[in-house]
């Protein structure tokens, strides 16, 4: 089940050494002098250079050996250079042909002297720059200028290169390199020494004797006592472990529940798919209230609801129509006028606020005292943006008993604000169809300024009396998502619906 179960190992990778690795490491450890060149080490150990190099690289990857690199460059003859040494440079061979032809060569004659066109052209150019030839054709040797018995500078450099001499003229050798007669050969030499870890590494007399993984057999037999453990490379890569941590929003909601439980509130729940009766009518929301329109409330297809108990329906209808409740002589108030439509009451609608949970609670338990909360989801047909969501969580709370007043609601706001670490609170008048008076508690956020957090009020008699509640009930419904944004340092309600496994598993991706 856990993600970690895939590919998990029994521990860090073992630091195993092959036979050659052991030999090379021991040789490096035995070398007290400066770093030793690969070639020297190869000769010493009698190992082919290629094999030795591979072994040394593996020791370096295990942090057991370190290398210093030296770079050097030398000149070598190319095949054309070797031919020039053997047969003479093209310019020398051109001079020789001139001499053979009496100091004058026609272009036709020049084509027969054993030089290809490129060589001929290069030879003529060089001899002219040196002043050995007269301008124009045929080619004429300038009198007194032909070095027949001394070497040209290029010939000297070629000879030096062939003899692997040092202090070679750089300008001439560069010119010969451009002519493709010599090339620069670059070589690197690595010198190796043992690292501090390599020096400290305990090496068993033979790797075959060292123990790898600790097995149940080793444990039960006690064989582990007889041989050393092969050490592990503690820096080797390990499997990528992912786990699970509590969802931050769910965890925060749980903390908020704790606060409410601590303040003496009992939790209640209600259905997400409600009837219009519980969602609106019982809360004295007029049946033509705009919040009940198809533009604001979400309704469903092919599902039929049922009316509430007849006696409750009759009492709520009386409150809406401004008639006395059954068995009473005077109405609670003038109501909303017009006729209450019981057919509307049974229509299913997605719960748009958590207040129906309070209403159901009061209908079930109208006898005070009561202190109830419900922290749950609701739905409104909103345009989704950073501050509005179609599905949102609200925290509903009611406090009902003899003597409850608007001041107790203010006190409750203060207690809740303090519990979540907010000290500054201010109260403004507000409006909700089912409470009177209605207020809104604003708290001061260090970054966002004053924000509306606590809407509430005292349930109207038109709400309480039909439910059989005869004491005042203070009620509030906090848009908990907005509060969560503040607490969790988020900026967008959509971030609360979290399905990013990178975050949920913890430890990145």
């Amino acid at each position: 089940m856990p993600d970690a179960s895939e590919g998990a190992s029994d521990g860090a990778a073992p630091l195993t050494l092959s036979g050659p690795e052991r030999s090379v490491l021991l040789a490096l450890r035995a070398n007290d002098g400066p770093a030793i060149a690969e070639e020297e080490l190869g000769t010493h150990l009698g190992l082919p250079l290629d094999q030795l190099r591979g072994t040394l690289q593996r020791l370096r990857a295990k942090h057991l050996a370190t290398a210093e690199e030296e770079h050097e460059a030398s000149l070598e003859l190319t095949p054309r250079g070797e031919e020039a040494v053997r047969r003479g440079l093209p310019e020398r061979r051109f001079l020789a042909a001139l001499e053979t032809h009496g100091g004058v060569l026609t272009p036709d004659d020049a084509g027969t002297i054993g030089l290809d066109e490129e060589e001929r052209s290069a030879a003529v150019g060089i001899l002219r720059r040196r002043g050995f030839l007269e301008p124009g054709v045929p080619f004429r040797l300038r009198s007194g200028g032909a070095p027949t018995d001394s070497l040209l500078p290029e010939e000297i450099v070629l000879k030096q290169v062939a003899g692997e001499e040092e202090d070679i003229d750089e300008a001439i050798s560069a010119a010969l390199e451009r002519r493709g007669l010599v090339r620069t050969e670059r070589r690197s030499t690595r010198r190796w020494s043992v690292s501090e870890e390599g020096r400290r590494l305990p090496l068993a007399a033979s790797d075959a004797e060292a123990l790898g993984a600790l097995t149940p057999t080793l444990l039960t037999s006690g064989a582990w006592k007889e041989r050393p453990f092969r050490p592990y490379d503690v820096r080797a890569a390990v499997p990528f472990l992912t786990g699970a941590r509590p969802n931050r929003y769910a965890a925060w909601l749980e903390e908020f529940e704790e606060i409410l439980v601590g303040l003496g509130f009992e939790q209640a729940e209600g259905p997400l798919l409600e009837t219009e009766f519980w969602n609106n009518d019982v809360l004295f929301m007029p049946q033509d209230h705009p919040a009940r329109s198809i533009h604001d409330a979400l309704s469903v297809e092919r599902v039929e609801g049922h009316p509430p108990p007849a006696d409750l329906l009759a009492r709520v209808a009386a409150a809406h129509e401004g008639r006395p409740l059954p068995g009473e002589s005077s109405p609670i108030g003038p109501g909303w006028g017009g006729a209450y439509d019981p057919a509307v009451a049974a229509r299913p609608v997605l719960r748009s606020q958590t207040t129906p949970v309070s209403a159901r609670f009061l209908a079930r338990r109208p006898t005070p005292p009561f202190r109830m909360f419900s922290l749950d989801r609701n739905f409104r047909r909103e345009e989704v943006d950073a501050r509005h969501g179609i599905e949102f969580t609200q925290c509903e709370g009611i406090v009902g008993e003899e003597g409850i007043t608007i001041r107790h609601l203010v006190g409750m706001f203060g207690a809740l604000a303090e519990a979540i670490g907010i000290r500054e609170l201010k109260i403004r008048p507000s409006y909700f169809p089912f409470t009177e008076p209605s207020i809104e508690g604003y708290v001061r956020h260090p970054r966002l300024g004053w924000i509306e957090i606590f809407p509430g009020g005292i349930f109207r008699p038109e709400v309480c009396r039909p439910l059989g509640v005869e004491v005042p009930v203070a009620a509030w419904g906090i848009g908990i998502g907005r509060l969560a944004l503040v607490a969790l340092g988020l900026n967008d309600l959509r971030e609360l619906f979290d399905d990013d496994l990178g975050r949920l598993r913890g430890g990145g991706t």
Binding site: A268, V303, G335, I390
Partner: protein, 564 residues
């Protein structure tokens, strides 16, 4: 919250001396209006939906008069003596099926004055705001303002055949037939359905047959255009209920009453009988404020003089009686239904301070619902198994539903978008989306969540029942049926439950590799291997095992009982 731009000069001219912006903001901070913007001589005000009167310059001016004590108590609308008797509107029975209610009032300018440009602008703007709010976009109620001096009462409100209706629309220059008006005019396109029934439409005419308006769409140019300098106007509303039309006319009246205009009643008659003498539109109502109601809501006692003073500042006059006060509510305060509404004006007329707060008198012990505690335990168990915990929506998309090719769950009638079109009946719908969103996050992936679903249930009061499920998906190279079954068994073992698996065909799973899990015959879980077709559609390259426990079914089996 409703909001509107108002002209500051028209508000402040109602005060004996101007007040600063800061003072205005301070006063409004303890009112149901809020100053949300200022731009030159325009101020933007938002109000709570019960105090729309404060969104007119006249209504806000009245409030400020009270707050600064420039004037106190209820502004009584003065009734004009009409020597010729009340004007009347005859209501034809034909309107009953479409838009039965109508109310009106005549407003008359103070001597030497008439309608000025600013006042006309204010009245028209406030009229449109009332259309959008109280009028529910003109469906519930609409308003008309007519120059009564150019009309000949009595008026007649009727549903007439298209063929009998021709008029010059207020924004037009030529006479049109009803047929053409309803087929071509943009306002008729928008509001036509509220004012026509087949090939008949509502009309309001004077005694000469001149059309004042085609309610609730547009006034006629000749009979329905109020102009600067007009001194007598008819304010009228048609709508669905008597209460709403009275309320909306009463609100519009504040723009005239606040500037000293007087009123005259408009009788509503039908079949020769008087349905209403018209005075209820502008008369103040008496709302009783029992002193006990005030004390019990406020949590303190006020001296009688303080109550009366606070009400007077709220522009409400109160007459004391033995048990409290009779408070005079003007027509633009429809929010004052009973004593609790008036009590609010008293209590909130000065700022409530946090230090005024009290804690409830009796101690109580809080507790979570046992079923919620159980659900949380299961969630913790899933977390302990290393399942990452997403928080997913109950509303799921059309594509998420069709992907499983099973019986669709409850569909929304008016989904805001296809992304939120169904109520999930299993968490699998949401959790496959989670995997689809995380295909770049590397495997293995395992998720688990406890959350609500809604399933159709004809026995439930709303036709749907909320159930809580614990769902898990395990996506890895070796995932299979056994992983899902093991998970279910483990969770059940943690609550000492022994279960039985039976083969089942479940949507979105490989046939023959899905099962239902029962405890004593009750279905408590479903599980299976997710079908490769589903996986390929969401781009998941490894097998996925799925398990889902119905915690609502499981909880009673543990001896628990729903405490709600």
């Amino acid at each position: 919250m409703p909001q509107s731009e108002l002209r500051r000069d028209r508000v402040l001219e109602m005060l004996p001396q101007p007040i600063s912006s800061a003072a205005l903001e301070e006063i409004l901070s303890i009112s149901k209006a809020e100053l949300v913007g200022q731009d030159g001589d325009q101020i933007t005000v938002s109000v709570t939906p019960d105090r729309l009167d404060l969104l007119s310059e006249g209504g806000l001016g009245l409030y400020l008069q009270g707050a600064t004590e420039a004037a106190k108590g209820t502004l009584r609308v003065r009734e004009l003596e009409e020597p010729a008797g009340a004007l009347s509107i005859d209501v034809d029975p034909s309107v009953a099926a479409l838009r039965p209610a109508i109310a009106g009032v005549v407003v008359v300018a103070p001597p030497g004055r008439g309608l000025d440009a600013g006042h006309l602008e204010e009245a028209v703007r406030f009229q449109e705001l009332l259309h959008a709010t109280v009028g529910r976009g003109r469906r519930a109620a609409s308003l008309g303002i007519y120059p009564i001096e150019r009309l000949v009462p009595p008026f007649r409100y009727a549903l007439e055949a298209f063929d009998d209706v021709r008029f010059v629309p207020l924004d037009g220059s030529e006479e049109v037939t009803a047929e053409r008006f309803f087929s071509e005019h943009p306002l008729a396109q928008q509001y036509g359905s509220f004012g026509r029934l087949d090939r008949r439409c509502l009309t309001l005419r004077d005694s000469r047959g001149l059309i004042l308006s085609l309610p609730p769409i547009l006034n006629g140019r000749t009979g329905g255009e109020a102009r600067i300098g007009d001194r007598r106007l008819l304010l009228e509303s048609t709508g669905l209920s008597e209460r709403t039309v009275r309320e909306i006319v009463g609100l519009l009246l504040v723009t005239f009453a606040s500037r000293g205009w007087t009123v005259a009643p408009v009788e509503i008659r039908a079949g020769g009988a008087t349905l209403s003498d018209g005075r209820s539109v502008y008369s103040s109502r008496s709302v009783d404020l029992p002193s006990e109601t005030l004390r019990s809501l406020a949590g303190r006692s006020y001296p009688a003089s303080e109550v009366e003073h606070r009400l007077a500042r709220s522009r409400l006059s109160a007459r004391p009686h033995s048990g409290g006060w009779a408070v005079e509510a003007p027509p633009w305060r429809p929010d004052l239904l009973t004593g609790v509404d008036v009590a609010e004006d008293v209590i909130l007329s000065s700022a409530l301070e946090p230090r005024d707060g009290l804690l409830p008198p009796s101690a109580s012990r809080g507790r979570r619902r046992p079923e919620t505690v159980f659900r949380r335990r299961v969630a913790t168990t899933l977390l302990g198994l290393g399942l990452a915990a997403p928080y997913t929506s109950v509303l799921v998309s059309e594509s998420a539903v069709t992907r499983l090719r099973g019986a669709p769950p409850i569909r929304l009638r008016n989904p805001p978008s296809q992304e939120f079109a169904f109520l999930r009946d299993r968490l699998l719908l949401s959790h496959l989306e989670v995997l689809a969103h995380n295909t770049r996050n590397g495997y293995p992936q395992s998720i688990g969540e406890v959350g609500p679903v809604v399933v159709a249930d004809t026995a439930a009061e709303s036709g749907g029942r909320t159930r809580y499920r614990a769902g898990a998906l395990i996506a890895r190279e070796s995932a299979g049926f056994a992983d899902a079954a093991a998970l279910v068994e483990y969770v059940l073992r943690t609550v000492d439950i022994v279960s039985v698996r039976e083969s089942a065909e479940l949507p979105g799973t490989i046939p023959g590799r899905a099962a239902r899990v029962r405890v004593a015959g009750d279905l408590v879980a479903e599980l299976g291997e997710v079908h490769p077709q589903v996986l390929s559609e969401i781009g998941v390259p490894v097998p996925v095992a799925w398990a889902e426990l119905d915690l609502t079914a499981l909880y009673p089996l543990l001896g628990g009982r729903d405490s709600d």
